[in-house]
């Protein structure tokens, strides 16, 4: 079987299509929560799935799932993105505000959204990761797999991140 045939097989692979449908929303939200920008999130989401497609199928590792695998790829894409931009992975408050192009400026809802984003962006990378995966709709078990840690550790990390987030949001308010 030559490479072209393999490619064709890959294209017809229903498993990848299913994974795509399952993960698209989650990956987008995960990436958005990390980059706080619509255009960048769209680009990085597309790049994530392109990489996943090229690497498909995931190598068999015990305990891991294809979903966790896709999120790990997304995480690497984000890391590469920040590395390429030569920037901190946490953006400043002003920057978050400037980057937001949606919503109705001035309304209270909009302000609280901005505050939440700013608070998230001010957290450590690890905390952002834990919360963003949660925002992507992953369960605690799936988060643990994507991060490669135990369930209990993931839960504790989630709690701590949320506590810190709340503290930041209070400060904003």
């Amino acid at each position: 079987m030559n490479r072209a045939q393999l490619q064709d097989d890959k294209r017809a692979n229903p498993h990848f299509e299913a994974l795509y449908d399952e993960c698209f929303r989650g990956v987008y939200r995960y990436v958005f929560a990390r980059v706080h920008d619509t255009a960048t999130a769209e680009d990085l989401t597309a790049e994530t799935f392109l990489k996943a497609w090229r690497k498909w199928p995931p190598r068999k590792t015990n305990g891991s799932t294809p979903k966790a695998w896709v999120f790990r790829i997304a995480r690497n894409v984000i890391v590469d993105h920040y590395r390429a931009e030569g920037r901190r992975s946490t953006v400043g408050l002003d920057e978050v505000e400037v980057r937001d192009r949606r919503g109705n400026p001035g309304t209270e809802d909009h302000l609280s959204i901005l505050a939440a984003r700013a608070a998230l962006a001010s957290l450590s990378e690890r905390d952002q990761d834990v919360l963003s995966l949660r925002l992507a709709g992953l369960s605690n078990k799936e988060i643990a797999k994507a991060l490669g840690v135990e369930k209990e550790t993931a839960g504790m990390a989630c709690l701590r991140a949320l506590k810190r987030l709340r503290k930041r949001m209070e400060c904003e308010a």
């Binding site: 294209r11 929303r25 392109l50 090229r54 984003r117 690890r126 209990e152 989630c158 949320l162 949001m169």
Partner: protein, 446 residues
């Protein structure tokens, strides 16, 4: 108390996780205040993150399908290869790059080497090389090479002590080295009004004339293809010239071919012809050295002393006769006799030395070394084939050395590995600790 707090925390975590997992963010009866606050903070965050549109999902799917079958765009040198050789599998690109780099180096180097080689290569071959003088040639024609040798050259070329300051004319055909004192030339002008060897009257500079006694020696190194065939030819030439082989030494080289050193004695009249014939053999002349030593003075001196002693001997003999006739005492006769024997011995010694000189002058000695091609030092100049074969030998040699080193390492492994493993373990532990600290800079910041 502390234990209680820990259990509370664990309860909080499990409650939080289950509520988040189920998506029940609204406050419920029985929720603790902390849980409510955390859930509301999360709900706020939940709203802050955008949802992707259906359109985007469709668009990205198409984009991935379109670009997914494309290979990743090669970068750097690989981009060049994919443009020039699109049919070649990209796995070969690194090898191609390496080969191209080597080729480039070779292409750049060859003209330089040729240029240098042309300049470094001695046009006069081994004859010129022999003196080890890196001199510009002054003059060169079909018959030979002329160059000047300064006093400093003569000193610095320690190996060739026979080099004397002056002009040297080396002929390749006659294999004679003529030396002219530096005074005979007007400075650096060269031999403007000097008889060059071709025109010089023979016999004056080369062959010893009848009343002079000159010991001639030559040593040649010849690079031959077949040592045995060349040796047979050497024997023929020697026999033709009325000479003989006085010593022979044969050994096997590392490469397995024969290397032979021969000493030949030839009548001095045949010396030049012999050299010419040796040179005409199917061999490359690597080096040659011709020396002559004028022993006339020594010979004359020996002769004079011998004559003196002979006269004394004669007188003593007469004295002995007279004493016998007079009937001297045995004591006196004996003392005269002793004296006579001593003188006779001295005379014999002198005669022996004279004989030796005569023989040396009559028979010239030529040492010939027959060197097989494989072990001959490389000729000057650049030869790509030779360089390549040398390089290949070096590669094989290096591989052997690497294999040797590996075997040594294998033998020493039980001795060296345990401490190395300990060091590696320590390094790994430290690195892991550092990595964790940088990955979670504020994990314990509460």
């Amino acid at each position: 108390m502390k234990r209680q707090g820990k259990r509370d925390k664990e309860d909080l975590v499990s409650e939080l996780v289950s509520r988040l997992d189920d998506g029940l963010l609204e406050p419920m009866d029985g929720d603790s205040a902390e849980l409510r606050e955390l859930l509301s903070a999360y709900a706020c965050l939940e709203r802050a993150v955008e949802e992707p549109t259906q359109k985007l999902q469709k668009r990205v799917r198409q984009w991935v399908r379109r670009h997914g079958s494309e290979k990743e765009a090669p970068r750097g040198l690989n981009a060049l290869w994919s443009r020039w050789l699109p049919k070649v599998d990209r796995r070969w690109y690194p090898a191609l790059s390496g080969a191209a780099a080597l080729l480039l180096i070779a292409v750049l180097l060859v003209p330089v080497m040729l240029l240098l080689g042309g300049r470094l290569g001695s046009p006069a071959g081994g004859v010129y090389e022999h003196y080890g003088l890196d001199r510009e040639l002054t003059q060169r024609d079909d018959t030979g090479v002329l160059y000047s040798v300064t006093a400093e050259d003569a000193r610095s070329s320690g190996a060739a002590s026979s080099v004397t300051p002056g002009w040297v004319w080396e002929t390749e055909q006659a294999l004679r080295v003529y030396r002219y004192p530096a005074d005979d030339f007007a400075g650096e002008q060269g031999p403007t009004n000097y008889l060059l060897p071709g025109q010089a009257e023979d016999g004056e500079t080369s062959d010893g004339s009848s009343d002079r006694m000159i010991v001639r020696r030559a040593s040649l190194a010849l690079i031959v293809q077949d040592t045995e065939a060349s040796f047979r030819r050497l024997q023929e030439i020697t026999a033709d010239q009325g000479g003989w082989i006085s010593s022979l030494e044969t050994g096997q080289t590392v490469q397995g071919s024969l290397q032979t050193s021969v000493s030949i004695q030839v009548p001095v009249e045949a010396f030049n012809q012999m050299l010419a014939q040796l040179k005409a053999m199917d061999a490359e002349l690597l080096s040659e050295r011709i020396t002559s030593q004028d022993v006339t003075a020594d010979y004359v001196d020996l002769d004079a002393r011998a004559r003196n002693l002979e006269l004394a001997e004669q007188e003593l003999q007469e004295l002995l006769e007279a004493a016998r006739e007079r009937g001297e005492k045995a004591q006196g006769i004996l003392s005269i006799y002793d004296e006579l024997v001593g003188i006779r011995q001295q005379i014999e010694q002198l005669k022996g030395q004279m004989n030796l000189l005569e023989h040396s002058a009559a028979m010239a000695r030529i040492d010939v070394a027959l060197i097989p091609e494989e072990v001959a030092p490389p000729p000057p100049g650049f030869d790509a084939g030779r360089v390549l074969s040398d390089a290949w030998k070096e590669v094989v040699h290096t591989l052997e050395e690497i294999a040797t080193a590996l075997l040594w390492a294998l033998a020493f492994a039980p001795l060296v590995l345990p401490p190395l493993l300990v060091v590696a373990l320590v390094v790994w532990l430290v690195a892991r600790r550092l990595r964790r600290r940088t990955a979670e800079p504020d994990a314990e910041d509460k």
